[in-house]
């Protein structure tokens, strides 16, 4: 009697587990599926109520996007900006995190202060930044977006990298220094290879945050440094929201980040569970 009860209990728990996973999957994937389906629907199908499940797919929305918007420029600009932000933010964050964890710079207070930069809504800072960049002639310029995104990503990347650095015993660096390495050599030859997964994770997060960043891009760019987020905003016209092309554009803009995440998912999982294994 008892044996059967336990078995059934287990089966029920397993079922609930799978149901839970399916619910989460639906909740997460549904918007993307909807977006993609909308991007291949004709205008009439898009606006139909109730929503049409069977329809004739079309690529007219994608053609619209390529012909009528700055999507190419947007994609190129966003890639440049993301690349630059990673190139700037990661090395600086790495060194800052090293300073915090190995030398206890600022005694914990400085690190907390930097973290609080991320705690206030960026919109609060937009007016001062607009004025500053205007005075420097940096409006509609890649540099201003790169600098702002670097600044706003660093609290997170520093916090992430500091967390991982604490997991790496200082013994290793000290042993290297005793055996003949300078502090920098110990860092480069011993610590850096060990923290590579964390750097990948930090880079991905910075990339995704920067790619998706809308507020600063919207206010500070016009036509030259236009980003994908701003291009998408362009589909909100006086005539109404162009749902079809908007969905097509969104799908196109999601693709690069999707590929990136797919390529590095192994590192993300490793990086995020690093602490647990120890």
């Amino acid at each position: 009697m008892l044996k059967i009860e336990v078995k059934t209990k287990r089966k029920i728990v397993d079922c609930l587990y799978y149901i839970g996973v399916i619910i989460v999957l639906i909740a997460v994937l549904f918007p993307f599926v909807w977006m993609f389906l909308t991007s291949i629907k004709k205008e009439l199908d898009v606006l139909a109520i109730p929503p049409r499940i069977f329809f004739e797919p079309t690529i007219e929305n994608y053609i619209f996007v390529f012909e009528r918007s700055d999507i190419i420029k947007g994609l190129i600009n966003s890639l440049i900006i993301v690349g630059s932000v990673i190139a700037l933010a990661i090395p600086i964050s790495m060194l800052a995190a090293y300073g915090f964890t190995r030398f206890n710079v600022g005694g914990g207070h400085l690190q907390f202060y930097i973290l609080t930069v991320r705690m206030f809504p960026p919109i609060a800072a937009i007016v001062p930044y607009f004025v500053i960049f205007r005075n420097f002639g940096l409006l509609d310029n890649h540099l201003s977006i790169i600098l702002l995104n670097t600044l706003f990503n660093m609290p997170f990347t520093i916090w992430l990298l500091a967390g991982f650095l604490r997991e790496i015993p200082q013994d290793l660096e000290e042993a290297a220094m005793i055996e003949g390495a300078t502090r920098f050599e110990a860092f480069r030859e011993i610590t850096l290879p060990l923290i590579a997964p964390a750097l990948a994770v930090a880079a991905i997060f910075a990339a995704i945050f920067t790619w998706n960043e809308f507020l600063f891009a919207f206010i500070l760019t016009r036509s030259e440094a236009i980003t994908v987020t701003r291009v998408m905003a362009g589909f909100y016209t006086e005539r109404g929201i162009l749902w079809g092309p908007l969905s097509a554009c969104s799908t196109l803009c999601t693709v690069p980040m999707f590929i990136l995440a797919l390529m590095i998912q192994k590192y993300i999982v490793r990086g995020l569970t690093f602490g647990a294994v120890r």
């Binding site: 000290e174 042993a175 005793i178 055996e179 390495a181 050599e185």
Partner: protein, 364 residues
């Protein structure tokens, strides 16, 4: 090989005093042990000699040269950490080759030296493995190998045997001693295990909570401990301590313990000179506590509490008042709980209860 000196060195971490006003002189090519429980300051001392920690006060000299401002890599020392600190992403070969690469040795030289050292330590078949693929004993030997590939002036070892299981530890102790002797360099070995220190070192510094209690050869520490702490730390099973009161009666002097009186007339003058109160602690090692089954002149009668047959001996626990003292007897000595036996102390130490300092000792 070099001499190492610490002069009035102090180190604090926040409110905690790790090392207090320490002065030590370690001789050239000496096997010197830092012995003490956790928190004694052993690791801090090693790290200060290595240069990864700076003393707050005092000076450190290697070969009479002050090294306070010399970075670790220029001190020509090497250190085996308690965790072995093997580089996890490098193979055993690369771990051992690291110090040699830093010295810009040729690849051929490096290969030769590493393989030779690996041969001595019986780890040659492991050269291509990563640290995570090694057992505790193997990792320890790789850690040792990394220090052996060059000729350091001083070799620092921080509890290298602690992380090994008991059986391996006993095996490695002998091998370790031989390897260290062959290194022909000054060795500073930190350990909480008095047996390790006593069997391996030329001299031992007994430390507790940052303070140095006594620095001497193992024999002197065993035969003439300066205070209660050293007496209790050295020797296994540890020394027995019996609280007594010093009294004088009819021109004779006695130590009054709960269940017996011990005559100490010949030591009376010495005791009175050095004691700070009449509370005295009588210390006697289990191996100096002789027990017999029948009454003999001058022996004290005590009751057996329990006996432990630890062949080839028996440890007999005897009741004195509230306390238990241990005595060692040959395995043939058959006793049961509650038996009355007669005990003689063959060598005693007297300590002042308040200060813990040794007042007198006597061999009977």
């Amino acid at each position: 090989m070099a001499s190492v000196s610490l002069k009035e060195v102090s180190k604090k971490f926040g409110d905690i005093t790790a090392v207090e006003n320490l002065t030590l002189d370690i001789k050239d090519c000496e096997f010197f042990s830092l012995l003490g429980p956790s928190g004694a300051g052993k690791t801090t001392i090693l790290r200060m000699i290595a240069g990864v920690e700076k003393p707050d006060k005092g000076d450190i000299y290697i070969d009479s040269v002050p090294v306070k401002n010399i970075p670790p890599k220029e001190r020509e020392i090497t250190m085996v950490f308690q965790s072995y600190a093997l580089f996890p992403h490098k193979s055993v070969y690369e771990n051992m080759a690291y110090p040699l690469r830093k010295r810009k040795m040729s690849e051929a030289e490096i290969k030769r030296t590493v393989e030779e050292t690996a041969e001595i330590l019986h780890i040659k078949p492991l050269l291509s493995r990563l640290p995570k693929q090694l057992s505790g004993g193997e990792r320890q030997r790789v850690g040792l190998g990394r220090t052996m590939v060059r000729q350091p002036k001083v070799c620092l070892l921080d509890e290298p045997l602690t992380n090994l299981d008991a059986k391996l530890r006993v095996e490695m102790r002998g091998e370790f001693k031989k390897i260290c002797r062959n290194l022909k360099t000054t060795i500073v070995y930190a350990t909480p295990d008095q047996l390790e220190a006593v069997t391996m070192a030329d001299r031992i510094a007994v430390l507790d909570r940052g303070k140095l209690h006594q620095c001497d050869t193992p024999d002197v520490l065993y035969d003439h401990p300066k205070n209660l702490f050293v007496a209790s730390f050295i020797g296994s099973p540890p020394m027995n301590f019996i609280n007594c009161t010093f009294i004088e009666e009819d021109k004779k002097a006695y130590l009054d313990a709960a269940e017996f009186r011990y005559e100490v007339t010949d030591l009376a003058e010495k005791i009175k000179t050095h004691m700070t109160s009449s509370e005295v602690i009588l210390g006697v090692r289990p191996e100096h506590t002789k027990i017999v089954k029948s009454m003999e002149e001058g022996y004290i009668q005590l009751e057996v509490f329990v006996s432990e047959r630890v062949r080839p001996e028996i440890i007999v626990d005897l009741k004195t008042g509230e306390k238990i003292i241990k005595a060692l007897a040959p395995a043939e000595f058959d006793v049961s709980m509650g038996d009355k036996v007669w005990v003689k102390f063959e060598k005693i130490f007297l300590f002042d209860k308040r200060t813990g300092e040794e007042i007198a000792e006597k061999v009977l």
